[in-house]
Symmetry: none
Subunit: 166 residues, 4 copies
DNA sequence: GATGAATGAGAATTCATTCAT
DNA sequence: AATGAATGAATTCTCATTCAT
């Protein structure tokens, strides 16, 4: 309740519904389960993220695209633990509907990583799982900090520099 | 144990009690509240961590102590979101009993950070809040990875290198 | 039904709910707390009682109204200890919602008592607190007796005669 | 908690035991059940009351003894609902151990009542059940009042006068 | 199709009773 | 024999889900 934004997971269905401008009944007419709703939200986010990622990859050179994307995903997933959890859950226990979007965005990230590594901008030994873990970790670090941009940039500095080859 | 770490916060009191080899009643005889139990656990951990941190600071040079401590705290707080949350909650809304240990360990970390910075081993512009945020983030990154040490070391490489001055 | 009157206070919420033809959830949807439910019931009863008392006062002479009201309140509060407790709790620790109805019915009773005393039908030295205490006591006496009207009337005889001036 | 004295019935066993200067274990060594303890206390009280009642009957004339006894029982049972409940429970559902003392004190009260009635001091139509009910009721009335003796005496005046024959 | 009242399984907490010391 | 820590059934309250309107 202090530095942590609202957790929609902890909000009860009625509150979620009201926040969305409807009643509980409506919510459950559209989604069989509260979990299903959250899943749908996740799917949407993952897809949006995949699209933005794709755009970045098309618009910039490999290195720039990689770092821009890192920044993008991190900012987007601050306060959304589930998001990065979903991201990292490769093919494990994820709910079926998340499989597709997860795979897609993982694919995009893999391409960006590979591109940046080939361009010599990122340590070559880093694998996709480590990259995703770093996304989650950086996002988590941001959560600890307030809205002030200066400390946030310092975190990015550390991570960006750390990612560069020695 | 690695993919889905124990969530003592989500576990109900009965389960916690049974896991500890007792009944619910026993649990509530010792702690007035489920929250109080969690608080007590946190206090213990924070104190243990403070002690270990102090020992590291005494046994090694500033730079080595700093990095060893980073490693220590990170490993210790994997899967324990509350831990790093407590750590970062300076004097905010923390429950009274957490105040002391939190302040102590923050003090230790501040000393280590300052020492490492004076020794030229860590970027001088990094403040304590950013350092703590990085602890939380690195720990979170570790959670995403399995038990295999190789990827974990790569994460440490990134963070350690990123922390060094340019 | 006469020896052991229903104790809704001791009944657990689930039983109360089922007795009312619903589930626990429904009960707690309407009243935030078990105590709040009981309070609401009390408010209703006190208000109904105040209304009946007012009617009696309007329809009969002071003495008749007084004794009729005594009879009414007593019969109404048999088996309902909380009722007379509420009645006697002037402005003490009563929950806010009981304040109004309590004051109202106390006012009615005070008027009736004063009227009967001015008409010379009731001992002049008797104060409102004693009157209310007698209501509670008479009601309690009734609880001890069964449904048979003869002993009950004997109790009323004692109390009514005792109330008259010497 | 305001005008009502402590209810040992609502106190938990541990508190009762500590108040008695021992531990819970000791309590349950002596009484198989919390209820059994309360029963034993009741038995003691009833017996003491029976003895005092007998003494009163021996020391004073029938009328005086009757009224003195009424006063005695009433004062003694203020705040002890269970007491008068036990008293009135003739042979019904009472626990076995209460049977004897209850019968004894009821016998004493019956004698006193009969004596006072023969002496012309009490309405002849009043039966033992009504008398006991009046004891309970008067005691209840006293509970509503504070410690101030004046109102209490007024209650006694009403009841005593009401008991006299017309 | 949308709404929100009703429902009951589940969670935290209390307390009579047991048992090892 | 006395003690108090341990135990789990019972109680209040929450919340996902259903259903009548």
């Amino acid at each position: 309740m202090s530095g942590t934004p609202e957790r929609p997971l902890r909000a009860d269905a009625a509150r979620i519904a009201r926040a969305a401008g409807g009643g509980v009944g409506t919510l459950f007419r559209h989604f069989p389960t509260k979990e299903a709703l959250l899943e749908a939200v996740m799917v949407r986010r993952l897809e949006a993220m995949a699209a933005q990622t794709a755009r970045l990859a098309a618009e910039a050179g490999p290195a720039d695209a990689f770092f821009a994307c890192l920044r993008l995903v991190v900012e987007e997933s601050v306060g959304r633990n589930e998001f990065t959890q979903a991201l990292s859950a490769a093919g494990r226990d994820v709910h079926a509907s998340l499989q597709g979007p997860t795979m897609e965005i993982q694919g995009r990230l893999a391409e960006l990583l590979a591109g940046a590594q080939q361009a010599g901008a990122v340590r070559p030994e880093l694998g996709l799982p480590e990259f995703i873990a770093l996304l989650a970790g950086t996002s988590r670090a941001m959560e600890q900090l307030g809205a002030d941009p200066t400390p946030r940039e310092r975190i990015f500095d550390v991570v960006f520099d750390g990612l560069r080859p020695r």
